[in-house]
């Protein structure tokens, strides 16, 4: 067995040290060595987007990155997305609009959406689709996710935005 290696990095805004077997992926280190099980896995082969986290503000698939590569970097997981007990607007709208059904893919979608809104505060529907195209969701058909991103984006811009009635009740 390989002996453990230790790294230091910023994790959800806190300085963190962790030791782990050097072959472990960032996904495994987060879940198994740091007990941050909010980051999920769907394939562990870089196919589904479920394990996405933000590294230095960019979304990456944590199943494809070695834990060692996190040395000295800034990593954000779903556990670090809320500001204390105050949910991030995206977390709020995902919950309120039913963008999380089973919720298993939600952490990955939320972090990728956060990255999008950092870069593009007023994205078009097509931009949202493209930004989220690496994340699979089997429950929602993506539509409630788009709507949640749009609503959160408007809130973050300080604009009033009301969800169309047809998104909640269907068309008349």
């Amino acid at each position: 067995m390989n002996s453990k290696r230790q790294i230091r990095f910023r994790l959800n805004g806190e300085d963190t040290e962790v030791a782990f077997a050097p072959h472990k992926t960032l996904l495994e280190v987060l879940r198994e060595d740091l007990n941050l099980t909010g980051t999920k896995h769907g394939c562990e082969l870089g196919e589904c987007g479920t394990c996405a986290v933000l590294v230095d503000g960019r979304s990456i698939l944590s199943c494809l990155m070695l834990g060692l590569e996190a040395e000295g970097r800034e990593v954000k997981t779903i556990e670090g997305m809320a500001n204390g007990s105050q949910l991030h607007p995206l977390q709020q709208t995902f919950a309120d609009l039913g963008a999380a059904q089973c919720g298993y893919c939600s952490p990955g979608f939320l972090l990728v959406a956060e990255e999008l809104l950092q870069k593009s505060p007023n994205p078009t529907r097509a931009e949202i689709q493209e930004a989220l195209s690496g994340n699979l969701c089997r429950c929602t058909g993506y539509i409630k996710i788009y709507e949640a991103v749009e609503l959160a984006a408007a809130q973050m811009r300080g604009e009033a935005y009301e969800l169309p009635k047809e998104s909640i009740y269907g068309l008349d």
Binding site: G42, E47, L87, L97, G141, I168, Y169, G170, L171
Partner: protein, 811 residues
Amino acid sequence: MAKDLNVVGKPFRKVDARAKCVGQTKFADDIVLPRMLFCKLLRSHVPHALIKNIDVSKALALPGVLAIITGKDLPIPYGILPVSQDEHALCIDKVRFVGDPVAAVAAIDEDVAFDAMNLIEVEYEPLNTISSIEEAVLIDEPRIHEYGDSGNIHKKVSLEFGNVEDGFAEADLVREDVFFYEGNTHLPMEQHAAVAHFDADQKITLWTSTQTPHYVHRALAKVLEMPASHIRVIATPNGGGFGGKSDPFNHEVAVCKLALITGRPVKITLTREEVFYCHRGRHPVLMKVKTGVKNDGAITAMHFQSFLDGGAYGSYGVASTFYTGALQTVTYEVPRYKFQGLRAFTNKPPCGPKRGHGTPQPRYALEVHLDKIAEQLRLDPVEIRRKHLVPPNSVTANYLRIGSMGLGACIDKVVEGSDWKNRFSGWHPANRKLPFGKGIGIACSSYICGAGLPIYWNNMPQSGVQLRLDRQGGVCVMCGSIDIGQGSDSVLAYIVAEILGIDPFDIRVVTADTDLTPVDLGSYSSRVTLMTGNAAIQAADRARELLVMAVAEKLGVPIENLSLAERRVFDVENPEVGVSFAEATVLAESKFGTIGTVGSYTPPQSPGKYKGSGVGPSPAYSYSAAVAEVDVNPDTGIVVVERVWIAHDVGRSINPLLVMGQVEGSVYMALGEILMEEMTYRTNRNVVHKFPSMLEYKSPTTMEMCDVKTYLIEDPDPNGPYGAKEVGQGPLLPVPPAVANAVYNAVGVRIDEVPITPEKVLRALKDKARGRSPRYGPEDVPSVAWPDSLRVLTPAEGGDGTEMPRVAVHS
């Protein structure tokens, strides 16, 4: 006096939604226990073979390996259906598909378990394989199983309601078509996972990602030979199910056994590849449908044949087989109906229930067939459907009792919304209004709201709910149902909150724990909202009664004057006279003692009494209609579904936002099935899955998902809670045939085989250009000796739902 509803019908968020958005929800793989071991299953790499020997000595010698078990350690068979107890946790003397487990390792970590798994030596003696329905029909030996109707035929059924030949004789047109619907899989984002813990008091607890904790509980008691009272199954929130987590699975049994042996907790999490082998997904079905119609499109008789490729085990397959023939009669009137179904065993991962269980395949066949009939009769495809709907409150030829029936309204909505009349302009190509390559198509469907009968025969309720009210106003609702993302926990909270006049977020919901919650049979067959909803109403009404009795006495107000709303119990005639909900619980507990109530639900008895009548009856039927708009590129064959208009008769929305989510999710999953998803195998002797990975098994991303225009039709059904019917599965059904019909409208070729891939479209277009049949699909079905039909007089013929005495002579 109808009370205004405060919770039901409102778009509350789900009671568990925030936990899911902050990473707090504990899925099965998130559970970590001290001293926990990790389990790996060694799976067969050959499709069909006798096991001659298994040598685990090298693996056992590996440091860190605590235990290894093989088939002989778990000799008792199990299976979801009482008639198909054909699975072993680990194969004993034979493997039946690539992926069939033969040994299980428990080790200190996953890496050691993996290394140990690779040190196990298995000696196989290969057997010839059965890779298709056609082979199973032709080749009796070797048999994949020693049971079943014959050779490699698991099940053959033949039912006839009325005399279909009489019906065909009355018809102006009799048409026959053949279709094939390829198998596909659930692909839940969460891989199956389970953790078992055996405690010092000889009780075992299994946390598992299952849709059916009660059935897992039963299977464990049987296989482990332990009293059920010593086994606790806790279903963890499912990261997607879609039917794929509805069977008791090998890995669930294996980790329990390893926990018993080692005395330590044992976890397993399947790899994505293994999830493909667990499968239990959509059966590939070959179908032949023959229908007699009058010139106005009225059906005089229908004969439907289906051939299911069941894979290597029974699973839900007998039920799936009947479902391929059950619901043809609940949309359009079919006065005489004959169904013949056959399920084959093949050396592939077992098929089972996927969203719509056994009905998307025949619905696709029926709706495309009807489109072809409409063309032949020069009828509008809307009219041929709209004019011949099954009436509400009626009984079909195969004895399914229809309650509310909102299909007419569904059709009207999608026809209007899609501007059908200005875009579909008859069947003659010269009249077309849309440019070549653009097309629209329509289809309709229906689905059950729970099965009328439980999987194992019993007289007990299908769903139970228990409520506990504490003296500070706390309400805990307990139910065996499991939330797989559809929102079943929330439905319980909404209904109890409605009746008790409190906020849904005031309620603690405890579900899917066999130690703590009354039995609910599970999240399958779209049963949960209707059945747990009715049980919750009963439990909450009983609690409400205790509260109002106590409050009435205290306030000196007649019981019937009291209303529960806004966390108060008050006099409706004098609203300021009242007490808080918390005070009401104190009054009730003071008067009656500890407040706990129960409710349960048993579906009404079905009018069908014949053998085979157990599949199809339901307390209510949901209805859907869809129009699809497609763009077909004639040079590449690529079909882009641009928009789907869908209307769904949900009876009543307990929460419209969640209903919308189920409709949109169903359209999405249907889109995957019709355009790209397929479980395909190399068909040489090594029947191996071509691409057990998420990259190669294509499913729709955001870039393929279409625009969806949804209409919710609310035609309350007397059997549903507040009139509610199902929505989780039904809206998937009309979409595949609507797309197929739209492809024909766009480019004039019929793709009678799902999925509609570019290759098939191009092939059909080439054939059309060469003057051949503009169609891609199977030509015929295998010739099979069917058993004598079980004959049942229809209700219209004065039948009583029982079968007629068998006659010796048959045609």
